[in-house]
């Protein structure tokens, strides 16, 4: 039986980042020939490592240096360049990223505390005050008794530096400027698909490995995963669909989200955040 062809994905990219020998060997051979799917992925997603910077440096080295750049270079002192002076002024003031991080942590700590409280109250969770969280026990069959419960919360990070993130309530109306940052709680280690449902239907956003406990949803690079609201209108639903033993497919995710009564062979747990996006 022919081995299915693999293409670059977020998960494969992460394995390359980690130096996984098998993955590196596979793609060393696979990328010998042009591959539209892999090239499209590489064009849109950073990594692995600093490859993007290397690519850009190589491309940008082709052209002769512009005459305007030569004028800048010939300046007796770059320190007198007004643009550089603006950079220095920005460096001398407190970094917006730090202000944002400090304020971002506080709301999420509050979220974490409330999630711990909810879990302590029992596994049956429905809509929770303050956030739209729907979770179902998975009823996964295993050698022991194993159930997977998920919760998902979101914080809205408005556009612009120096603004703070705040928790988003269930079905809250939000502006289309800004991004949603996600935090989950999982009772077990699981493989999850993050999907978005909007006026365009349901789409996969990414694949994640969830660790037990409460965590920010992050990319393999360690960066926070966020959903950019610009261009969205109307109700959108961000959902994590997870299972312990396998990564749910998009079809399985769609079934789990839209047929919650179909539970006999259910092996996936879900958690959803809903917001209504309006023009800024």
């Amino acid at each position: 039986m022919e081995t299915p062809m693999r293409h670059l994905t977020l998960a494969e990219n992460a394995r390359l980042e980690q130096g996984d020998a098998e993955t590196m060997a596979y793609f060393a051979a696979h990328l010998e020939k042009p591959c539209d799917e892999c090239e499209a992925f590489l064009a849109q997603v950073d990594g692995p490592g600093l490859l993007d910077g290397h690519v850009d440096a190589s491309l940008l080295s082709l052209a002769p240096r512009a005459a305007s750049d030569a004028v800048v270079s010939a300046a007796s002192s770059a320190e007198k360049d007004p643009a550089f002076s603006a950079i220095r002024r920005a460096l001398e003031s407190p970094p917006p990223a730090q202000r944002r991080t400090v304020r971002y942590v506080a709301p999420l700590l509050a979220l974490a505390a409330s999630i711990v409280l909810m879990v302590a109250l029992g596994r049956q969770l429905g809509t929770v005050n303050g956030a739209g969280v729907e979770a179902m026990d998975a009823g996964v069959k295993s050698a022991g008794t194993s159930t997977l419960s998920l919760e998902l919360r979101a914080a809205l990070l408005p556009e612009g530096d120096g603004t703070e993130a705040r928790e988003v309530a269930d079905a809250e109306t939000v502006s289309a400027s800004g991004a949603l940052l996600l935090r989950y709680h999982a009772t077990e280690r699981a493989h999850a698909l993050l999907v978005v449902e909007n006026r365009n239907g349901i789409q996969t956003l990414g694949e994640f490995t969830l660790d037990p406990g409460s965590h920010d949803l992050t990319l393999p690079s360690g960066d926070f995963a966020s959903y950019d609201l610009s261009g969205e209108r109307g109700e959108i639903r961000l959902s994590l669909v997870a299972a312990v033993r396998h990564l749910p497919s998009l079809d399985e995710a769609t079934q789990a989200l839209h047929n919650p009564q179909h539970t006999r062979n259910r092996s996936a747990a879900t958690a959803t955040i809903r917001v209504v996006v309006v023009e800024p």
Binding site: E39, Q44, F84, A97
Partner: protein
């Protein structure tokens, strides 16, 4: 490379003259990269340049490999550009907006390959393109290097997003080829 080491060490300590020299040396490439996104107007390109250097100088203490500075700086610039654009692709909707662009802990690729410009390889890839709109766009932007992506769109009479798409598609091809070489080097 040795001159960078001294400049980076000084810039890490906040020495203004060192930062100014790094800015002077690398600003052209950062600006050029940003101008490859035709949806960004000239003011936005300038904003990206500023944001890139501010971010880089703030994170510089975490950069362990001075040789990685040029590529790392351009990675920051590319992130800044993407953060400003309204991407429709579901892959790029997951944007890291909160986390700072921290340098990687360890270089993942052989130092020799990090330093190598690969100019001849890239020129071969351009030459191998069939004659047509993509080759013309890539040649105007990367080889001649005088026009921004916006100006190229005006010159060719096509939409701004078309020019950006052509450049990104070619860039994806270059990245595939370089990744293949890196992986082959690691395997050997």
């Amino acid at each position: 490379m040795q001159e960078w080491v001294g400049l980076i060490e000084g810039a890490t300590r906040g020495v203004s003259s060192a930062q100014a020299e790094l800015y002077r040396a690398f600003r052209p490439n950062v600006s050029r990269l940003a101008s490859g996104f035709a949806q960004l107007d000239p003011d936005e390109v300038e904003d990206v340049v500023q944001e890139t250097f501010i971010r880089a100088f703030r994170e510089l203490p975490r950069l362990r490999e001075p040789a990685a500075f040029p590529g790392w700086l351009l990675s920051i610039a590319r992130n800044r550009c993407r953060n400003r654009l309204d991407h429709r692709s579901f892959v790029t909707r997951l944007v890291s907006r909160v986390a700072a662009e921290t340098p990687p802990e360890l270089p993942h690729f052989p130092p020799a390959l990090q330093a190598e410009r690969e100019e001849a390889v890239v020129r071969e890839l351009i030459d191998a393109l069939p004659d047509g709109p993509e080759k013309e766009t890539v040649t105007l932007f990367y080889v001649e290097g005088e026009l921004s992506a916006r100006e190229i769109a005006d010159k060719l009479g096509v939409g701004k997003s078309t020019v950006t798409m052509r450049l990104e598609r070619f860039r994806g091809r270059v990245k595939r080829d370089l990744l293949r070489r890196v992986l082959a080097t690691r395997r050997d």
